[in-house]
């Protein structure tokens, strides 16, 4: 019966694990353009990665973007997750549907929507001009602002669903008891709900951070020349046919992602949201 496992294991070893092995191998050489004299095993790509301030800046930008998007998502998502977990309204199904459906619509489509909204002659700028908030269009995209908005939008459902699944497991009777004893809503939140949901917060935060630092489409479409993060730089290096350096960048992002994955698996028992 175990032969049933053979196809999937072969598929993943040959076409998932092995490619990363090739990536590691490629990262240990210089491209023919850099080293016309001949190829030899070298850590030069990594030396460049850790030694050049430009690449350190890109790493810091990647982590900073991840941090900002994660914090924004957490703050925006928490009340919605609470509502979703606690409501017994007949609209509950609709609410769940509205949270999940963006996940299933292509990121390209969602980014296109933001481009129409945030462009120079876009909906938001036209509205601002019409009501006299500004007399010239504001730069809302092709910069960090656009990237943060679009990325927060993409990742918010993951945070909401992860938090909601944890909050749902906190007995409502605890809150009722506290309320009877005179605790106002903020006290109930501070002393009961939030501490008991910390595992979900940890799980959601690692999940969203991981997805944010690996994001590609939203950053490529809504970012500008200065919004360089690791995934985008990997793509740029491939376009420049600087494959070996791209491989080193890939190993760099791979190590960070696997470390975060390990934290998520082992530090928090609650699994993240799907899709």
């Amino acid at each position: 019966m175990f032969f049933c496992l053979v196809p999937i294991v072969v598929l993943l070893v040959a076409f998932f694990v092995l490619p990363f092995g090739v990536m590691l191998y490629e990262s240990l050489f210089l491209s023919p353009l850099q080293a016309p004299a001949g190829v030899s095993l070298t850590f030069a790509n990594y030396v460049k990665l850790f030694g050049d301030f430009f690449y350190i800046k890109v790493l810091l930008q990647t982590l900073a973007l991840g941090a900002v998007v994660t914090i924004l998502s957490l703050i925006i998502a928490y009340p919605v997750a609470y509502m979703l977990a606690r409501t017994r309204s007949r609209w509950r199904q609709l609410l769940v549907f509205l949270v999940i459906s963006p996940l299933i619509v292509s990121i390209v489509i969602r980014s296109y929507g933001w481009m129409v909204l945030l462009g120079r002659a876009g909906t938001v700028n036209s509205m601002f001009v019409a009501i006299g908030l500004t007399d010239h269009p504001l730069p809302l995209m092709y910069n960090w602002f656009g990237v943060v908005i679009a990325l927060t939008h993409v990742l918010l459902p993951y945070m909401i669903l992860t938090l909601a699944s944890v909050i749902e497991g906190i007995p409502e009777s605890l809150e009722d008891t506290a309320a009877v004893l005179g605790a106002a809503w903020f006290t109930r939140f501070r002393l009961i709900v939030f501490p008991l949901s910390l595992e979900g917060v940890g799980s959601g935060v690692t999940l969203v951070f991981m997805l944010a630092i690996g994001s590609f489409v939203s950053v490529l479409l809504l970012g500008g020349s200065d919004t360089l993060i690791l995934p985008l730089m990997i793509y740029q290096q491939v376009i420049l046919i600087n494959n070996n350096f791209a491989a080193a960048l890939g190993m760099y992002l791979l190590v960070i992602s696997v470390a975060l994955l390990y934290v998520q698996r082992h530090a928090f028992t609650v699994r993240g949201a799907a899709a």
Binding site: I8, I104, A150, L211, N243, A247
Partner: protein, 270 residues
């Protein structure tokens, strides 16, 4: 929650949730809405009303080619994913294996890594093997990223099944193959269907992996849209394609809800 109606904090909470849900749906509504305008530039709310962008999209050969390529790719990837994922799910549920947890985590791992990483790794791999960028390489990559979805939904449905049904069939004299064909498979159908739909959508929508593995001759729809959006002033043609795609997704989502329950797609039970 009874006190929700009396509490001003609860009212604020409701308004806030409404605002967030609006934020979540606005870009999608906008992307679809621009398709119905008559203006050259994509804008929302659209000026005038026309279906000309649908016509433009439907007569643009690069979009049509990409759409047909994406469709073929997604259909074949879905079939292969189910063929590879279903037997694995059955063994994982039926047998106790040494290191089962680690094996399952490994088989689901393509879910967890950034797509760009896998795309670039596969690019090097195909280059190193001497295959170069072919349609089959792209297909293989799509199968790899989609297979965890089929595996996960099938595992979830199978674990929820009553073992007694299969045992009863065997007691009544069905051989293992008959048991599988007449009892197990029909019971697994919702999970397989949901997983298959997911596999289809993952393949059809993928950008970060496909962008490294496509050539101008075998570009997929989302990659074509991406290059269109990054290279020129975008008009409303893209909006029409978005509208069509969202319509398809809504139908699929409805089917998924009927067969499997949308809430079960997440760890958050509905």
């Amino acid at each position: 929650m009874r006190r929700l109606f009396l509490d001003p904090a609860a009212l604020i909470l409701r308004l806030y949730c409404g605002a967030v849900l609006l934020f979540l749906s606005i870009p999608i509504v906008v992307a679809v809405g621009v398709a119905f305008g008559s203006d050259k530039i994509a804008r929302f709310p659209p000026r005038g009303l026309s279906l000309q962008w649908f016509k433009a999209a439907m007569t643009n050969s690069s979009f049509l080619d990409a759409m047909s390529n994406s469709f073929q790719l997604a259909v074949l990837a879905t079939v292969m994913t189910v063929l590879v994922g279903l037997p694995a799910a059955i063994v994982l549920v039926r047998r106790r294996l040494p290191g089962q947890g680690a094996l399952e985590a490994f088989l689901l791992s393509p879910l967890s890594l950034p797509g760009v990483l896998y795309g670039v790794a596969m690019l090097f791999f195909l280059g190193a093997c001497g295959f170069g960028l072919t349609w089959w390489g792209l297909l293989l990559a799509h199968v790899v990223i989609a297979v965890p979805y089929v595996l996960r939904t099938t595992l979830a449905v199978y674990r929820g099944l009553d073992r007694g049904l299969e045992e009863t069939a065997q007691v009544l004299g069905a051989n293992p193959w008959q048991t599988f064909w007449h009892v197990t498979l029909p019971l697994l159908r919702p999970g397989l269907f949901a997983g298959g739909l997911f596999a289809f959508l993952i393949s059809f929508d993928n950008v970060p992996v496909s962008i490294f593995l496509t050539t101008p001759n075998n570009s997929t729809l989302p990659v074509t849209i991406m290059s269109y959006l990054t290279s020129q002033d975008f008009d409303a043609t893209i909006g029409a394609i978005c509208a069509l795609q969202v319509a398809v997704v809504l139908v699929l989502l409805y089917l998924l809800d009927r067969l499997y329950g949308v809430g079960r797609l997440t760890s958050f039970g509905a």
